[in-house]
């Protein structure tokens, strides 16, 4: 099994666990961790699939690299905004969970 394929599958697994956490976790910081791992998985899948031909064409696909760089920067921006919202919500409502996830 080729390196690309191996990492591709790792990416798939990461995406899966990240998605589960993003949806299932209650603490918003954990959900954000989930989104970041999900993103990492997606990016890894993209690069791995782009690197499939590395053997043949010699060079990996730069377009996938550029896409992932873009994705990473977008992800950190979104995370930063989400964290700012989280801090503000905790300051005003005293909880780091969404209302529907707060213990009754």
């Amino acid at each position: 099994m080729s390196v690309a394929l191996l990492y591709g599958l790792v990416g798939v697994a990461l995406a899966g666990m990240g998605l589960y956490t993003a949806l299932a976790a209650r603490h918003l910081l954990r959900r954000l961790l989930g989104f970041n791992v999900l993103g990492a998985g997606v990016f890894m899948l993209l690069i791995a699939l782009g690197a499939r031909a590395t053997g043949a064409a010699g060079r990996a696909d730069p377009v996938t690299h550029a896409m992932v760089l873009t994705g990473i920067v977008v992800a950190v921006s979104a995370t930063a905004l989400a964290l700012a919202l989280l801090r503000r919500m905790h300051a005003s409502e005293g909880s780091a969970r969404l209302p529907e996830d707060r213990a009754p």
């Binding site: 791992v37 064409a57 550029a66 801090r87 780091a96």
Partner: protein
């Protein structure tokens, strides 16, 4: 590929999965975040293994470094109570069965798809390499980011800009406590700051022909900035200079785009003769802006802002 290589890859893969899971599942969020940062560093290693050094740099600096730092410092703001989470945060409950099932199904389908995909699709590598001479740079990734798909990158810088505007709107209180300036830190600063500036600039410069570029450089600059902020808190309010500084990168990039559309061959069509210089200009300004934004994401708005709150 050689056997030991695949062995190394196998170990790395296993570590990634394990750390990734720990980063999500550890009951203690501090532990989780730290593990996430380690996970990020390992990820960078994986990027290198996949022949993506540019991403490796970005991952280490932004993915692991900056994101981790932001997470940690938010945890600090939440306090012990806010940071506490239930002992088994991801335990499978009936309520979560559906989600878990969906995720498993997705993983299975994705895996099947990955295995089913054609083994050797070169993607756009040939076109990208063929167009490289006219792109003004010799690093195909930089060429893609700043030339072939510059439109993506312009909008992406817009996203970064939005993050800081959002933080300003939220009027988020400065993220880090303001300790009394620590002499030790000051000393460190005197060493690190120039270093971060130099390396940042270097990364920017090499980006044209080797791994590196504006974002990686910006992250390093930001690291210096954050240290500075630790030493003596920066006051990055939404004042005009601050606004000008954070928008500069976006503005210059957009200006180049409009100029090329009005005077030149079309939107963001860089004339090959000047492409290299233009790209360097865009990246230089963008780097400074993005670095400032990243610092601002920490510093938030200082007490003395438009409205007198806090």
């Amino acid at each position: 590929m050689s056997v030991e290589a695949t062995l190394l890859d196998a170990v790395l893969a296993a570590l990634l999965l394990w750390l990734g899971w720990r980063a999500l599942a550890s009951a203690d969020l501090y532990k989780a975040v730290v593990q996430f940062m380690v996970f990020g560093l390992l990820l960078a290693l994986a990027w290198v293994r996949l022949g993506a050094p540019d991403i490796a740099l970005a991952e280490a600096a932004i993915g692991a470094g900056l994101t981790g730092a932001l997470l940690l410092d938010t945890l600090a703001r939440l306090g012990a109570a806010g940071a506490a989470d239930e002992p088994h945060p991801l335990r499978l409950t009936p309520a979560r069965a559906g989600v878990a099932l969906a995720c498993l199904l997705l993983v299975a389908l994705l895996a099947a798809t990955v295995l089913a995909l054609p083994a050797d699709l070169p993607g756009l590598a040939p076109q990208a390499l063929a167009a490289l001479p006219a792109s003004g740079v010799s690093n195909p990734v930089t060429a893609t980011l700043l030339n072939y798909r510059a439109w993506d990158t312009l909008l992406e810088i817009g996203v970064v800009l939005l993050a800081v505007l959002g933080v300003w709107i939220l009027d988020a209180e400065p993220a880090l406590p303001r300790p009394a300036p620590d002499p030790m830190l000051g000393l460190l600063l005197r060493v690190v700051l120039p270093l971060s500036v130099v390396t940042g600039g270097y990364l920017l410069w090499v980006g044209s022909h080797a791994p590196g570029g504006a974002f990686q450089g910006a992250a390093l600059l930001a690291a210096g900035g954050v240290l500075w902020h630790l030493a003596q808190p920066l006051r990055l309010s939404a004042s005009l200079p601050a606004r000008a500084a954070v928008v500069a990168g976006f503005a210059v990039f957009l200006a180049v785009g409009i100029a090329t559309a009005v005077l030149g061959a079309g939107l963001l069509t860089l004339p090959p003769a000047h492409a290299g210089a233009l790209i360097l200009l865009i990246e230089a300004v963008a780097m400074v802006s993005i670095a400032l934004i990243m610092v601002a994401l920490f510093a938030g708005r200082a007490p003395t802002t438009v409205d007198g709150r806090q």
